[in-house]
């Protein structure tokens, strides 16, 4: 009886991983194209951006906020890098860093409104979402900017070992360390649990809240750069709806939108679950519109599982 309970507990605690493994096996079984080097590498190349966005979103969600601007900030990252390279002749590596700085400024703006002016994250990031999209359109005239070969696409080129993928893994490791092993991570989570209590404990909660929006924007900008690198085109229309995928990844990974609860590794897995669903349906040639219906249903199922896990804890 007790053993059963323990086993059940383990299954519930790790349901994100189990769903992922099950899904992975199912994918292997129903399509022989799925488990191939080419397909898996493509999934990672495609998902590096969305995974980074989800990590940034997770940081914001841990504080009890939400960042709707991530998709538009991606567009700024992609467009600005391209504009700097083509119109100002800046080499691609410095161009990325300038874009990162600019993206972070947008996040600082959101974070200031939330931390110091007490805006709700939803409202502040909604405004910045519109502003950022407007900036992306303005600087590109809403037309795609083709980039020279051998510049930005180095990031996704075979000769250099697809740099996007190791960069993504390095960032995941850094965020696992931040979450588990730093006072900073601890206080971000604490701020999301009960911000007043943390403040009364003598901690400057505003700084932590500001910082997560900056991180989210920086990661989103980088995600935009990744997307531009893969296509070698700077584009102001990318990232539409990316905020919803990022939130879904966090939630599938067990994060609570009320704050204080969430996991870096599970969020990454959550993003990969969404990716696998998309990938297998493409391989099976499921049309795009029904794909969305199935994706939505899977999100509901995942959240239902989280709710059940919570019940068990009571």
């Amino acid at each position: 009886m007790k053993k059963d309970h323990k086993a059940g507990r383990f299954l519930l605690d790790n349901n994100t991983y189990i769903i992922f493994l099950a899904l992975f096996l199912i994918c292997c079984l129903i399509s022989d194209k799925f488990f191939s080097y080419l397909n898996l590498r493509n999934i990672l190349l495609q998902q590096a951006g969305p995974i980074l966005v989800a990590l940034g979103m997770l940081m914001v969600i841990l504080t009890g906020g939400i960042d709707l601007s991530v998709g538009s900030v991606m567009a700024v990252g992609s467009s600005l890098t391209a504009v700097l390279m083509t119109q100002f002749g800046i080499p691609w590596i410095p161009a990325i860093f300038i874009a990162l700085a600019a993206g972070t400024v947008l996040g600082t703006f959101t974070g200031m409104m939330v931390a110091y002016l007490k805006f709700q994250g939803f409202v502040a990031s909604l405004a910045v979402m519109t502003i950022a999209r407007g900036i992306a359109y303005t600087i590109t005239n809403a037309t795609p900017i083709n980039l020279e070969n051998g510049t930005l696409n180095t990031l996704s080129s075979k000769e250099f070992g697809y740099p996007i993928i190791p960069i993504m893994f390095a960032l995941i490791v850094i965020f696992v360390i931040i979450e588990k092993y730093t006072a900073y991570g601890r206080l971000v989570i604490a701020s999301g649990s009960n911000v007043e209590a943390v403040k009364l404990s003598g901690i400057r909660t505003q700084r932590y809240i500001l910082s997560v929006y900056m991180i989210s924007a920086a990661l989103s900008t980088l995600a935009g750069v990744f997307v531009a690198a893969r296509s070698n085109v700077g584009n102001s229309t990318i990232g539409e709806g990316q905020e919803l995928d990022a939130i879904a990844a966090c939630v599938i990974g067990g994060a609570s939108l009320a704050g204080g609860k969430g996991s870096v590794t599970k969020t990454v897995i959550g993003a990969l679950i969404l990716a696998l669903i998309g990938n297998i349906m493409n391989l099976l040639a499921v049309p795009a519109y029904p794909q969305r219906i199935i994706k939505g249903c899977i999100i509901i199922a995942a959240v239902l599982l989280q709710v059940l896990t919570d019940k068990k804890e009571d």
Binding site: K2, H5, K180, Y181, T182, A183, Y184, R186, L187, I189, A190, S193, N194, E196, A197, V198, K199, L200, S201, G202, I203, R204, G260, K261, E313
Partner: protein
């Protein structure tokens, strides 16, 4: 008890969660128009019993009879229809709706009818007058009322459903002396009308003043039941904690030293006017007075939570001006807030995380957490405070009130403060844990910490403090040394101004 007179009979009730028995074969009987005290430490099973009666939990075994008929209560709606109502410490009121809307909230949803506001307000007024509270305006927003009046609205709301059994869960915890008086008058009025009342309180004097009969629970088991007039205070405490309580307020052997905190001419808003006081190392200074007299506000202003208008604060010989709590904590001033759930603890985080919140510096190196060190540190600290917990990874909300309070204490004890303000340190804590908390406070004073206790319990101020300041309407109305501290003096000064 005669048949027909017995309103409620709960027989051989058992309930377990997983492997633990929350209630084991417990029986309670309450007569018609009787006030019955339900007594026990935190974790004794009172809440579980109340929740079974109100339909929040379902019992595993046993029977419930109301007015001689066996009933099954499977949901809060069942309980409501049977006339069972509970007034919890956290009220079930919508703060943005008016008093009348709250009282008649279930009538507002009746289908196909428009609301007759005039009649609704009139009915609410009549009902409130019937309870002796005609001064509460039905049109006012509930959120703008005092806690005491909110409680009355809550009671009034329950009575509109013809409650036959009213359960009051620590109703006096948030009230001032005068308000408690009014509440007791109301409870007696309801008793005359034949309502049966189950009264939960940690205050023995209230039980003796108000209740007819009692049932004592301990560790989920039935201990004893009887008439209140047949027992003594010490008998009840003995039944409750299962041992003699030799000393409610343990001895302290602290040396009073130099001035740690000195406040001169402090003003902040309406509630803090011209406050002057000092507290020395090793001293326990009490702040007494009615709820809302400005005690908490004074401390919040000193601690940097609220803005000061004027005044000079000297801490450890240095003039300071704490702009935010962080400044105060860095210098060594700690403040344990009065409401541990909303301002003190991170209820959905682990015991470990809560314990080291204010002292992360001790378990980190260059910003990186040392998990092993942290675990050892937490273990040692909590065992020093005899905190009972399963695993330090459990949520802090899984603990009883007394142990939760010890965790909030741990936060400050571990932060190496030179002066700590404890705002209502034993609210909602049972007798046994209270003594342990007093011991922690004493050991802090013995280590040379200057301690300030804000408390609405006069016995606590009298028992614990070297000196007490009494506040009324934002001003200090008197200072009383230990040898002159008694309830009469405190009440007199608290009613001044």
């Amino acid at each position: 008890m005669e048949k027909g007179q017995c309103r409620l009979e709960m027989d051989h009730i058992s309930k377990h969660f997983g492997g633990t028995h929350a209630l084991d074969n417990v029986s309670v009987r309450v007569g018609q128009g009787e006030i019955h005290a339900l007594i026990g430490e935190n974790g004794a099973g009172k809440s579980t019993l109340i929740k079974i009666l109100s339909g929040a939990y379902t019992k595993d075994e046993g029977t419930i009879q109301i007015d001689g008929k066996e009933v099954s209560i499977n949901s809060p709606l069942d309980a409501k229809n049977l006339g069972v109502a509970v007034i919890y410490q956290e009220f079930m009121l919508a703060p943005d709706l008016s008093v009348a809307e709250n009282i008649f909230i279930d009538k507002l949803s009746e289908k196909g009818k428009l609301i007759n506001w005039k009649k609704l307000n009139q009915d609410a007024k009549e009902r409130l007058e019937g309870l002796g509270f005609g001064n509460i305006s039905p049109q006012k927003k509930v959120g703008s009322l005092s806690v005491a009046h909110q409680q009355i609205v809550e009671i009034c709301k329950c009575l509109t459903h013809n409650a036959r059994i009213l359960i009051l869960d620590e109703p006096t915890a948030v009230l001032t002396v005068a308000e408690i008086d009014k509440l007791f008058r109301l409870i007696r009025l309801l008793k005359e009308q034949g309502v049966s009342i189950i009264f939960v309180s940690h205050h023995m004097n209230e039980i003796f003043e108000l209740c007819d009969s009692y049932t004592v629970l301990k560790d989920g088991c039935f201990v004893n039941t009887g008439k209140v007039k047949d027992v003594q205070n010490d008998d009840l405490i003995h039944m409750m904690i299962g041992r003699e309580l030799t000393q409610m307020y343990p001895e302290r052997n602290a040396k009073i030293g130099e001035v740690v905190l000195k406040v001169e001419d402090l003003n902040a808003g309406d509630r803090v006017r011209n406050i002057n006081f000092e507290v020395r190392s090793g001293e326990v200074l009490g702040f007494s007075g009615l709820v809302g007299s400005g005690r908490t506000e004074t401390m919040r202003a000193i601690f940097g939570v609220d803005k000061k208008d004027s005044g000079k604060i000297t801490f450890l010989g240095e003039t300071v001006d704490f702009k935010e709590p962080r400044d105060a904590v860095r210098k060594g001033l700690g403040y344990l807030s009065e409401n541990r759930k909303t301002l003190g603890l991170l209820v959905n985080q682990s015991i470990r995380i809560n314990t080291t919140m204010s002292s992360l510096g001790k378990v980190t190196k260059r910003g990186f957490l040392k998990h092993k060190k942290e675990k050892e540190y937490v273990k040692e600290l909590l065992s020093k405070m005899s905190t009972k917990y399963g695993s330090m990874e459990d949520d802090v909300s899984s603990l009883s009130g007394g142990n939760q309070q010890k965790i909030s204490f741990a936060k400050w004890v571990s932060a190496d403060c030179r002066c700590i303000v404890f705002d209502e340190p034993t609210r909602g804590v049972d007798v046994g844990a209270k003594v342990e908390i007093y011991e922690i406070i004493n050991s802090l004073a013995e280590q040379g910490v200057a301690v300030i206790i804000i408390s609405s319990e006069m016995t606590e101020i009298i028992g614990m403090c070297d000196r007490a300041l009494i506040m009324a309407q934002g001003r200090i109305t008197g200072e009383v040394g230990r040898e002159f501290l008694n309830e009469d003096t405190i009440i007199k000064l608290a009613m001044e101004g």
